[in-house]
């Protein structure tokens, strides 16, 4: 992307970030030679967050970013590829179509995967395919998730949020915020949006729970995703025959096949169930751990919009992305060879001091715009505007309703989703003073 944006001589100053090198793909011959001589040993991906720092990426990532924001990395299957930790280089990789998202070209950066590349994406999984297949799906879906459309859901989100806060008040204190609030609010929204009938929701939730279970292995998670897809598949004929006012019914009027509809529906459900839920759970934990920030949000609910962006940046729950080079690419003075897997550490990129001053501080007053929490490039999160509406409503409502909200257990006893694709908490026991 950057190479298409550097045409200052024509008077066109195309969009670029002030903190980014002006041309990341410029051949820097001397530098390349120098760096090749001093090429560091491949590292492995740091996975362990420091004890007592549930919101921070593994500490080694900051060191690696400081040394070299793009560096060789050894994958668990022996493959030697790359690790990106800087904001500018991560953004450039995500935006560059020379880097593929096709699963069958990617090596898993964490242990537990196959020896060699991953299996190809199941039908409807938008994250594991490239243009033109990806473009076709994205074009059919983008209109369903526009800023305008999602804002129209605000009132419904407010109602669902209020209902769950009422139930929390009746039930507690103490309650598990994940069970009572963080999980069900976005789950109900995505089920309503897609058009999952009330009677089917329990089954959907069960499969979804398996997707985020601490005990589920890769195979069980794949099985749960398959089951979720099958559930949607069973809905498709009914939606074709008797369309209702929902996304799945809308999509039956396109040229998508039943298999594609089931796959896309399962993908959207999984994406909608496991992401915002973890932002709400971990975000609440973060705000309770930074009482002055929670107080700022309580004092000024108008802070919600930028508070959400800062929480997205600070927490970066979708912490790691993977791409594979389709051809040789020179980037940041390094030569990435065709076939190399490149892991991008979104959590490290969002803590890059070159982009965000004092990056390890949670500061709701900060303009966190430009964070990469939703990714960047053609695969940037399809549901991000829904997630924004949900979080902009849910955080101020929760902290407004319970002015004395606090953890009911010591912070070190909150069970973290360690080593999972999406970071978060499994439970968040909270309490408050009853009036």
């Amino acid at each position: 992307m950057q190479h298409e944006q550097s045409a200052p001589s024509s008077g066109q100053s195309a969009p670029s970030e002030p903190s980014a090198p002006s041309d990341l793909s410029a051949p820097a011959t001397e530098q390349t030679a120098h760096q090749a001589a001093a090429q560091p040993e491949p590292v492995t991906l740091p996975l362990t967050r420091a004890a007592g720092c549930p919101f921070d990426p593994p500490a080694e990532l900051a060191e690696l970013r400081e040394q070299q924001p793009l560096r060789p990395m050894r994958y668990p299957d022996g493959h030697v590829g790359w690790l990106a930790t800087g904001h500018a280089v991560t953004r450039a990789i995500a935006a560059d179509p020379r880097f593929s998202s096709r699963y069958e070209l990617l090596r898993l950066p964490v242990p537990g995967g196959p020896s060699g590349p991953l299996p190809p994406a199941p039908i409807g999984d938008l994250t594991g395919i490239d243009a033109p297949e990806h473009t076709r799906y994205r074009r059919l879906l983008a209109g369903k998730f526009t800023v305008r459309r999602m804002r129209l859901l605000t009132e419904r989100v407010e109602q669902i949020t209020a209902d769950h806060l009422d139930a929390m008040e009746r039930q507690g204190p103490v309650v598990d915020l994940v069970q009572a609030f963080a999980h069900p609010v976005p789950a109900l929204m995505i089920c309503e949006l897609l058009g999952v009938p009330q009677s089917d929701r329990a089954g959907f939730q069960e499969h979804a729970a398996m997707l985020s279970s601490p005990d589920a292995g890769l195979e069980e998670q794949m099985a749960a995703l398959t089951a979720l897809t099958e559930c949607v598949g069973e809905l498709v004929p009914a939606k074709r025959a008797h369309p209702t006012d929902d996304l799945l019914s809308d999509l039956t009027t396109t040229d998508l096949t039943d298999d594609e509809l089931a796959g896309i529906g399962g993908f959207l459900l999984a994406a909608g169930l496991d992401t915002t839920a973890n932002m709400l759970g971990l975000g609440t934990f973060a705000l309770l751990s930074h009482p002055e920030q929670a107080a700022a949000l309580r004092a000024d609910p108008g802070l919600a919009d930028q508070a959400v962006e800062e929480l997205l940046r600070y927490l970066s729950i979708a912490h790691t992305g993977i791409r594979a080079a389709l051809e040789d690419v020179e980037l940041d003075g390094q030569l990435i060879k065709a076939g190399d897997t490149v892991t991008v550490s979104v959590s490290a990129a969002n803590r890059d001091p070159l982009k965000f001053p004092d990056p390890d501080t949670l500061d709701l007053q900060r303009k966190a715009t430009g964070h990469l929490a939703f990714g960047h490039g053609a695969h940037q999160c399809l549901g991000q505007q829904l997630a924004r509406v949900e979080m902009r409503v849910a955080f101020p409502a929760l902290f407004g309703r319970f002015p004395t909200l606090r953890l009911a257990v010591p912070p070190e006893d909150v069970p973290l989703r360690d080593a999972m694709n999406i970071h978060g908490v499994h439970q968040l026991p909270v309490t408050w003073d009853k009036e």
């Binding site: 200052p8 002030p18 074009r139 430009g370």
Partner: protein, 76 residues
């Protein structure tokens, strides 16, 4: 300032409509960008520049007019 869009690149993420709703909108059907004005007045230019810089698909070209051509768009 003159803005132009490349709808072939646009992925409908909505970053522009979110950031500078006075300048950018999304088509109700396909979600792709719609320019509300190609020549934003001075008060909207900073927002337009910011939004263009945030586009995940680099779907915008920002042409600054005479005298302002050297100021790079950014996220300020």
């Amino acid at each position: 300032m003159h803005l132009s869009i490349d709808r072939d690149r646009c992925i409908g993420a909505g970053m522009c409509a979110l950031t500078a709703p006075e300048v950018f909108d999304q088509d109700a059907e396909d979600g792709l960008v719609v320019l509300r004005t190609a020549e934003p007045p001075p008060g909207l230019r900073a927002g337009a520049r910011l939004a263009a810089g945030l586009c995940p698909a680099a779907a915008f070209t920002v042409i600054e007019q005479e005298g302002a051509g050297s100021s790079p768009p950014g996220e300020q």
